[in-house]
Assembly symmetry: C2
């Protein structure tokens, strides 16, 4: 319990808050900012001037307002000038993006990669190559202010070590350090679990905007989860929270899971379980395979329907339990769970209704992700922006602007 | 996202923070307060003077310091003068306590009550009677600054309505309003779920002190839960979070639960399940009955051992899943789960080890509650103190001091 902030800390906080409003809300008039922040106009003017001089925002005439009279200026983020690099280590795909302040994609590179084919250093080499290509396309005077990366595994928050990532065969890989060193930008890379970042992205820019308590489920070959509780990402003691895929749903008689346990949500309702139940090749995972099952079910294929029914059951049981534990307002199905949800929503809802307590589910909304496959990269970018949104001028000073 | 605080808000924050240090930490020297709050000594002196004048703290010579030389003064809470009333609506017991600033029990009243025998208004009558008796024992010049109550059910945070409380037969009872009206003290009663308050109590004053991420499981006739995540009670959207007893652990083949579902942790591992598995009368619940099973198991009673083994299994499976979801540092077993844990710790641990991910459980500590049956009342008192610890002088002004 620390004392209240000094005048200087308050100014820093206000600069960060204004920048965050513009970063998340896009072009905003000074009057609206004054209203939202509860500050008077002259204070806002001072903050805007300071952030403008630093090259983080600019004021300009709004695009056609549709109203008569002289329009007032709007404040907008300098998206072309100030950016971050976001990285995504997928199960069979590596991706990087240059994302400008305001969340604008300025460039993107990606490549398939053989699952489990590279160690952390080799992945960092590929991603650092992408980063150089992306930065080469940036014009002079632009500035990289942060670096964020997503990995499908358990990431120690303090140092970016990937403790384990079964689907890509990693264990105790110093990925944060590897990527930081290879990028050589004088900035550390923040590393997070992919579903946690998906949760952050949908919370700030997607299906969970304005919602302070949400649960995000991300399906690819595994099932990941991210929890926003009271507006904050729930990390837990070491940053490993949100591993919903390894919630036990079928402890007696469940299938063996890659984690060593039996009957995890992932082993009962992941892509492999779905494909197997639908009598398809369980190793041919991916969006197309999942979509094919949903489409077959729509056409009346008995195995596909039974598979979606089963998987919907397990998802509903898990979400029902999580609703009792976390009382979220919104549950968002992302990655390939988007397709699964669309194909088994009725089953999922019915299970939630029978397993979740009435009061805990009365305002519950089930949604599919709005950011699609970009959710993870968007979340990695938000992680990378987090520092400049706390202390804009200090971060610029550190990054050498 | 609001702007930073004004000078006045900072002073208010600092007064609250100092009072909180003294409330939770007991007698503390000004030098230590300055150090912990990161403020200089003259600022601390000003804050101490203001809180002393308001009658919230006082400075005095410490009890024997064991050191030579003139001891410095310590700041201590005015526990005799400033108090709250805490209420606990148990399953078969009603209790009230007068608890002084600093967490000191100044008086207590309790009575057994027939389970499901009274509605909300009748319970409020009994508790209001206790309150009058407790306040009659307070000397002149003392001041009640808050009211908090615990109920074993789902409580809507916004207005204290008990949405459902199966074990006492309540549904949509306006208990917060009922008790507030009958007390007639001009202060609203804050109502919370009992296990959430147990979690708060163990976090602030018990087995979870200093731990920012913990899980508290409370056993009586049901199983309640409370989650502290990042130092805050996880309430969720409506305040119903933490219902760990209704996490589904045995969806196929589980017993019917009072909530309408099957295979909840409560139906598999609650007191009734334990007694039934141990071939005892499942309706004779309570601490003595649970303790008798543990003692019988110690003496080699086969049914009792099998019962503890089973219940330990379900508890371990549930906690293993929760460790993956929440990554707590500490899991605390309170209420009659304290006895159950002591009798089945090995089984619980073994299940956690097989179901929780390595990284998520590596620093995990399993503990029994330190506050015993007082946990819920202590938590209700902390809820009642929360307002004065945020704005000490404003709260005093409102309560008419």
């Amino acid at each position: 319990m620390k004392a209240g902030p000094s005048q200087e800390e308050i100014r820093r906080h206000n600069l960060g808050t204004l920048l965050r409003h513009v970063h998340l809300g896009g072009s905003t008039s000074r009057a609206v900012l004054a209203d939202r922040m509860g500050l008077n106009r002259s204070t806002i003017l001072g903050l805007v001037s300071e952030l403008s001089s630093a090259g983080l925002i600019r004021e300009e005439l709004p695009q056609d307002t549709g109203r008569a009279g002289r329009p007032s200026l709007v404040v907008r983020p300098e998206s072309d000038r100030v950016y971050v690099l976001a990285f995504d280590v997928g199960v069979d795909r590596l991706a990087a993006a240059r994302i400008g302040l305001g969340g604008v994609f300025l460039g993107r590179r990606e490549t398939p990669w053989p699952r489990g084919g590279f160690d952390s250093g080799e992945v960092a080499d590929v991603l650092a190559g992408f980063a150089r290509q992306l930065m080469d396309t940036a014009r002079d005077g632009t500035l990289c202010v942060g670096l964020g990366a997503a990995v499908r595994g358990l990431v120690r928050r303090s140092d970016g070590v990937v403790r384990s990532a079964a689907h890509i065969g990693w264990k105790e890989e110093e990925f944060g350090e590897d990527l930081t060193r290879r990028l050589g930008l004088g900035l550390p890379v923040s590393v997070e679990n992919e579903a946690n970042l998906g949760a952050v992205a949908e919370h700030l820019r997607g299906a969970g905007t304005g919602c302070q308590d949400l649960l995000y489920l991300h399906g690819d070959i595994g099932i990941g989860g991210g929890i926003i509780a009271g507006g904050q990402l729930l990390g837990g003691d070491g940053g490993y929270g949100g591993e919903i895929g390894h919630m036990v749903v079928n402890p007696r008689g469940g299938r063996p899971c890659g984690c060593g346990a039996r009957g995890c949500l992932e082993s009962e309702a992941g892509e492999r379980a779905l494909l197997q139940a639908a009598r398809r090749d369980p190793s041919a995972t991916g969006r197309d395979a999942v979509r094919a099952v949903v489409e077959a079910a729509d056409r009346g294929d008995i195995s596909a329907r039974a598979a979606l029914h089963d998987v919907g059951d397990w998802l509903g049981i898990a979400v029902g339990g999580l609703v009792n534990i976390l009382n979220p307002r919104t549950v968002i199905f992302g990655g390939t769970l988007r397709e699964v949800f669309l194909g088994s929503a009725a089953q999922i809802r019915s299970r939630i209704n029978s397993h979740a307590l009435g009061a805990a589910r009365e305002h519950l909304r089930l949604r599919v992700g709005e950011l699609g496959d970009d959710a993870v990269l968007v979340g990695a970018a938000e992680l990378a922006f987090s520092e400049i949104l706390v202390g804009p001028l200090e971060t610029l000073a550190r990054t050498g602007a």
